[in-house]
Every structure is written in structure tokens, then in C-alpha cells.
């Protein structure tokens, strides 16, 4: 069971946890990750963040990443939510949850999905800092992490 959403609206971790657990007594492990907007990046105060994406391709890309994760680990349920639009420091950006009978697959699957999402999903962040607006640069460390799998 896969749920993928790209949305401007915020999400509730409690609601997402309830959904991944609903009518599900087979999965003994649920792992979730939340990515949030930091108030400091590379030494600069961050006032706002705008996320742009490629509608249609983003959803397809996330689905392909989740399908790849399910081919590698027994993940019964996966939920991915990525927010777009204007966000502020401390806002939630991204949610990934995996459910599996055992924890190893749930941990590995969640980390894999995040690592691939950061290098493959067509989403871009623009920060407003004390020095003005700029698009974030892709990090080679993120590419290295995605390559590890």
C-alpha cells in the first residue's frame, strides 16, 4: 500500500502514523522521518523557503523511488508527503514512513527513499536569507549517499 502526495498543506505525523497502522497487525516496525526548515544554513539566518517542483513528474518520480525500495526490502506500507510553496523556519517539509514486519527493512527503506528523493525527485528549494534570495546548490555529499545503495 503506497501513498504519495505533493501538497502545499501541512501534514500531521500522528494522522500519518494512524493511517500506516490502521488494520495492520502484520507490521511490527514503523519508521518515519520528518524533514524541517532550519533557521540557519551555512551560517546565514534563513527567513523563508520556497519549494518549486515539476507537477506530474514529481509524483511519478516518488512512486518509482518507493517501488524500487519495495523491490529491495519487504515494505508493506509506505507513505511519502512532500510540501511545496512558501515555508518558514521550523515548518515541516517532507515525511517518509515505512512499515515492515521487522525493523531492519523499515529503517533501510526509509533512509533509501530519502537519499534517492534528494537526488532524483524534481524539487528545488529557494532560500530567503539575510543576504536575499538564492536557489540552493545540490550537494555532492547527497549524491554520494544516493550512490551508496
Amino acid at each position: 500500500m503506497i501513498h504519495i502526495a505533493v501538497q502545499a498543506a501541512d501534514f500531521s505525523v500522528q494522522q500519518e502514523y494512524d493511517r500506516i497502522c490502521a488494520d495492520n497487525s502484520a507490521d511490527g516496525a514503523v519508521v518515519f522521518f520528518v524533514g524541517r526548515v532550519r533557521d540557519l544554513n551555512a551560517g546565514e539566518a534563513v527567513y523563508a523557503m520556497t519549494l518549486e517542483h515539476y507537477p506530474g513528474m514529481t509524483e511519478q518520480s516518488l512512486l518509482a523511488i518507493v517501488s524500487e525500495a519495495q523491490a529491495r526490502w519487504p515494505l508493506s506500507r509506505v507513505r511519502v508527503i512532500h510540501r511545496v510553496g512558501q515555508l518558514a523556519p521550523a515548518d515541516q517539509i517532507v515525511f517518509v514512513a515505512t512499515a515492515s514486519p521487522h525493523r531492519e527493512a523499515a529503517f533501510a527503506g526509509a533512509q533509501f527513499i530519502m537519499d534517492w528523493l534528494k537526488t532524483r525527485a524534481p524539487i528545488w528549494k529557494k532560500e530567503t536569507t539575510e543576504r536575499g534570495e538564492h536557489w540552493l546548490q545540490a550537494k555532492t555529499s547527497d549524491a554520494d549517499k544516493a550512490e551508496q545503495w
Binding site: 532524483r120 524534481p122 528545488w124 528549494k125 536557489w135
Partner: protein, 82 residues
Amino acid sequence: MTFTVKFFARLREELGTAEVQVALADVTTLAQLKPFLIGQHPHWQTALERNLLLAVNQHLVTDDVTLQAGDEVALLPPVTGG
């Protein structure tokens, strides 16, 4: 007989446009696209010669592709979501 080329994020802002239509009479394969666009818009050269990802019909591609009428090509800066 044309296809669409979409630009995103920093690249869209640098070029000052979100998409253009290109005639198949001018460009038939993906590899010909950037040189054609630079020929039409010499001031796009710096932006188009940066590291960009290419997608055809919303799938990332790394090899050359023969383009068809109605295709949706996208030039994407390296992604920074998550």
C-alpha cells in the same frame, strides 16, 4: 510538428521563460536541443551549459533520444528537495 521544452527553478529565472516550442524541422534528437537553443538565444549559453538533468515525457534520460511531435522535454537544474 513541434515539441515543448520546459525550464524549471533557477534555469527558468535565468532564461526568463518557463517553456518554448521547438519545431521538429529544427531539432530531431535531444542532443541537438541545447546547441539549437543557444543558436537562437546566444545569451542563454552560460545557463544552458551548466550541469542540467534532462527529462523526456517526465522521465529522466541520460542517453540521446529521438524526439516526436507533442513530446515534453524538460531541462532541470540539479534537484534540492527533501
